[in-house]
């Protein structure tokens, strides 16, 4: 199992075209990643909703093909309420 970082990034960008996405392969095994996603689409959403939006973008891969994705989400600075 596992999926390449480029595929994760592409799926996130498809859902959040304005996003800045940084992905790190934590274990070098293509299965344990950390991602930071910064998008104005997260404005006004709780952390749970922000993460759920990213999981939704990954269309069910999370928890199946993709075991571990340490996730950090944020709105672009200057865009805070």
């Amino acid at each position: 199992m596992g999926m390449p970082a480029a595929e994760i990034e592409a799926m996130i960008l498809a859902a959040f075209p304005d996003a800045a996405v940084e992905i790190r392969d934590l274990a070098g095994d293509g299965d344990h990643y950390a991602a930071r996603v910064v998008s104005s689409a997260f404005a006004g959403l709780s952390r749970v909703r922000q993460h759920q939006a990213v999981y939704a973008a990954l269309k069910g891969k999370m928890g199946t093909d993709l075991h571990a994705l340490q996730l950090e989400t944020a709105v672009p600075s200057g865009d805070h309420e």
């Binding site: 952390r47 749970v48 993460h51 759920q52 999370m62 928890g63 199946t64 571990a68």
Partner: protein, 108 residues
Amino acid sequence: MSDSQALIAELVNANEVVLFMKGTPLFPQCGFSSRAITILERLGANFETVDVLQDPEIRQGIKEYSDWPTVPQLYVKGEFVGGSDIMMEMFESGELQQLLGADSGLPA
């Protein structure tokens, strides 16, 4: 509501602080669950845990219950708080201490 959803609702509502995790606090079976336990212990919180590896229906059902694809999952006072990343962010910002309230009167 299916049996597993009803059981999960009961666990979530009967325990003020409950962590659904892989393994037990002494022997977590996943780094993320281990991290969640470390945070709760650091806060001196009283909490219950549910080992999802012991019950395939809960393991699957908890993902549907909160529309959240991974374990661990923390619930406080019946509300879904988040997974270990959110717990860590809230721990670092002091929000988790606040949420867990007076029973964690220890210095962070």
